[in-house]
């Protein structure tokens, strides 16, 4: 059976060259980067090389990059390290749990929290953010792109606001690093989290950008690695994998974006040809990420039917459910409950061929015909 992975937003396969690099590091570079001897020096160099690659890709300084074990860890280190008990935080209702649960905890510890709902385009409106700013506002944390909708926030505009009011801006950019251009010189983001496995790098490694001059409290205690913000012996191969994967993604960013856009257009054309009834939710989306509703069809059923045909997509938030529940994120973005329940996230990437896209569209049309009959029966 043909197998086509269309869940690029969940994670990506690891690039061949990245695998080769990591394997060679695992085989030959095992020293503890903190050790003084040659073994340690070699490992240390691997990490610093990756830091340079990462800084170049994002257009920031290398000392502004902290390697972490995940995007989640980066988010925790940034928010918990910054916020004090009387601070006011502004964020959105559709943040990832690694933001949402941290700020909810901070709220319990005395911080004040304002959560803004996205608009119909799946964006948190900069004007609304500005309205909520008070004299105690310390932090604004908004995701760059939403994981379920694929919508992209106007971070440049939000950064202008935070600059103006002298507030710290943290951006969870896990979904879009390596997918759209991010220039930290141009965009005055103060802190930004990313994760390697979203851009064809390995799992278990992420990074946090912390602009010079921002002083974070230590939330993990240990031997002082990564500016004492993420202590613990470094994941050398993983960090090297992140560096290479990120520079490959940014070096080929324009051509990849064009290619993925083309695949996306082909997919729309194909499903139009099959006369499939669908609603594509967001206009300005990450390339290749489609939050797409099929009216009258149970999304969970559709996901399973596609899976049984070797096509992997994702559905809302619940990953295993016999009783389909609508995703709160879709509801917050103004999508009706029925349509939310019939909405899948299909995400394409550079690994796909035009032939793959045609196959997915064809199988989708066959399955929809079967499920439609059932829903009218």
């Amino acid at each position: 059976m043909k197998k086509i992975y269309c869940d690029i937003s969940a994670t990506t396969p690891v690039n061949e060259q990245v695998i080769d690099l990591m394997t060679s590091i695992h085989k030959s570079t095992f020293g503890n980067p903190s050790s003084v001897h040659k073994y340690g020096q070699e490992s240390h160099i691997v990490i610093e090389k990756a830091r340079i690659e990462t800084a170049q890709a994002l257009n920031c300084h290398q000392e502004e990059i902290i390697f972490t074990a995940s995007g989640t860890e980066a988010n925790n280190i940034a928010l918990e390290g910054l916020v004090e008990s009387d601070d006011h935080i502004i964020s959105s209702t559709y943040e990832h749990p690694s933001i949402m649960n941290v700020i909810k905890n901070l709220e319990q510890k005395g911080a004040k929290l304002t959560l803004l709902k996205p608009n119909q385009n799946g964006q948190v409106e900069p004007k609304k953010i500005e309205k909520e700013i008070s004299k105690n506002t310390r932090l604004i944390t908004v995701m760059f792109a939403n994981n379920e909708l694929g919508s992209i926030n106007n971070i440049k505009k939000i950064a202008e606001i935070t600059q103006k009011h002298n507030i710290i801006l943290h951006v969870d950019a896990v979904q879009c690093v390596g997918k759209i251009p991010i220039d930290l010189e141009e965009m005055k983001i103060d802190m930004m989290s990313l994760s390697a496995h979203k851009f064809y790098g390995p799992k278990g490694v992420g990074a946090l950008f912390v602009r010079k001059g921002i002083d974070l409290k230590t939330i993990l205690n240990g031997g002082g690695q990564e500016l004492n913000l993420r202590p613990g012996t470094e994941n050398i191969a993983g960090i090297a994998g992140l560096g290479l994967a990120l520079s490959m993604a940014t070096n080929h960013l324009k051509e990849n974006m064009l290619y993925v856009k083309k695949l996306e257009q082909l997919f729309i054309k194909e499903i139009d040809n099959y006369k499939i009834n669908y609603v594509l939710h967001i206009k300005d989306r990450l390339p290749g990420v489609l939050a797409i509703g099929f009216p009258g069809i149970d999304g969970q059923s559709l996901l399973i039917s596609l899976d049984l045909k070797g096509i992997a997509v994702s559905f809302g938030s619940a990953c295993s459910s016999g009783t389909t529940k609508a995703s709160q994120i879709l509801l917050d973005a103004g999508i009706t409950e029925d349509l939310a329940k019939s909405t899948l996230r299909i995400s394409f990437g550079k690994i796909h061929t035009e032939e793959d896209i045609k196959y997915v569209a064809k199988e989708l049309s066959i399955i929809l015909k079967r499920l439609e009959k059932k829903s009218y029966a």
Binding site: S305, S320, S321, G322, T323, I366, R370, L371, K374
Partner: protein, 361 residues
């Protein structure tokens, strides 16, 4: 879309029986999909963290996933928590508060494991379901009969009487022709790690088999109204005090706090009067009872002579079913002990189930 093989959803608990059921389904030449039904989450009262029970543990779900993976079969977890709570657990609680003794597993089989799972066939584009129950479905002149499993000790047909007859044709019970011994051997031959795992007979939603504690969490407002009451003899004379009628079942001897030269047993529970009537053992014998919620597997006419089982492990008693007062009454040939309202009575003709009902007064 044409499939070369019929597709079967195999309900997987992660235990040895359902794992071997999957193996048999594949051997029979079907395409299989493993599904584990998530029915309940027990939460620790203090920490609110999920504590697993046997039916639903991570261990069990992982066990099912491992077996499916080994056999190259897709596996999905289906969340039936809401359905299970509203249709099975709520009934369990209501029955106890009505002074009756429910059998939630039987309700769960018919409502969740059959009706709800068969509704999922469309989702999976599947044709049939299979479970690891020890019972058989035999085809006889285009009708399907639900029969006892070959292994008399393990036979679970009693637990399946409530399944709607028309669902039998969509069901495969691959273990019905096997003994537990043979099933264990198949599991060992396939090097299934769970081959030696003991199965639990406890209710999956009740921690430590303590249903009283469960009810106090599930229906706290009802428990609040529960007060001590009188224990009387059959003549209506008070002989002791009970601690709330839900704590007792028909036929119970222990824990009554009574001292008589001859033991006393719970004969009747009267929730409206908050009273429990006790008697000597002889008086627990009953000549018959009414039945409700009947489900028929075969076409029948009354009076009907058959063998009836009034509990899971009973041998079966000769009886006659008759129509009486617009419902069905069962007359036992010989009086039966502790005929318990709320429990199931299943009617057999030799090995096959004719039907069943819920025992009333």
């Amino acid at each position: 879309m044409h499939k070369d093989k019929k597709r079967v959803l195999v309900a997987m608990s992660g235990g040895v029986d359902s794992s071997v059921a999957l193996i048999k389904i594949l051997e029979m030449g079907y395409e299989a999909i493993g599904v584990t039904l998530k029915l309940w989450e027990n939460r620790d009262k203090k920490t609110n963290k999920v504590i697993d029970s046997d039916c639903n543990s991570l261990d069990a779900v992982n066990g099912a996933k491992m077996v499916c993976d080994r056999l190259g079969v897709h596996h999905y977890t289906l969340n039936f928590i809401d359905l299970f709570k509203s249709k099975v657990v709520k009934n369990f609680s209501d029955e106890y508060f009505s002074g009756r003794t429910p059998n939630p597993c039987i309700r769960c089989n018919s409502i969740v494991k059959w009706e709800a799972l068969i509704e999922q066939l469309d989702v999976f584009d599947a044709d049939m379901i299979a479970t690891g129950h020890y019972a058989r479905i035999l085809k006889d002149n285009n009708t399907y009969k639900l029969c006892k499993g070959v292994d008399e000790i393990k036979d679970q047909s009693y637990m399946l009487w409530q399944i709607k007859k028309e669902l039998l044709e969509k069901t495969i019970l691959p273990l019905g022709d096997l003994t537990k011994q043979e099933v264990r051997q198949i599991a060992l031959d396939h090097k299934l790690i769970n081959a030696d795992r003991n199965e639990s007979m406890d209710l999956c939603f009740v921690v430590d088999d303590d249903y009283r504690e469960f009810l106090s969490e599930f229906a706290p407002e009802k428990i609040k109204n529960m007060t001590d009451g009188e224990i009387t003899n059959e003549e209506g004379e008070t002989v002791g005090k009970h601690s709330g009628y839900i704590n007792y079942t028909i036929g119970q001897r222990r824990g009554l706090g009574l001292s008589f030269p001859e033991p006393r047993y719970v004969k009747k529970i009267l929730p409206n009067e908050n009273k429990i009537i006790v008697s000597k053992k002889d008086s627990l014998l009953s000549n018959g009872c009414y039945l409700s919620k009947l489900n028929w597997m075969e076409n029948i006419s009354f009076p009907l002579k058959c063998k009836v089982r009034i509990r899971y492990n009973s041998q079966g008693a000769d009886a006659q079913l008759i129509k009486k007062n617009n419902t069905i009454f069962c007359e036992f040939d010989n009086p039966q002990l502790a005929v318990t309202p709320g429990q199931s009575m299943v009617f057999y003709n030799n090995n096959s189930i004719i039907g069943g009902g819920i025992i009333e007064e």
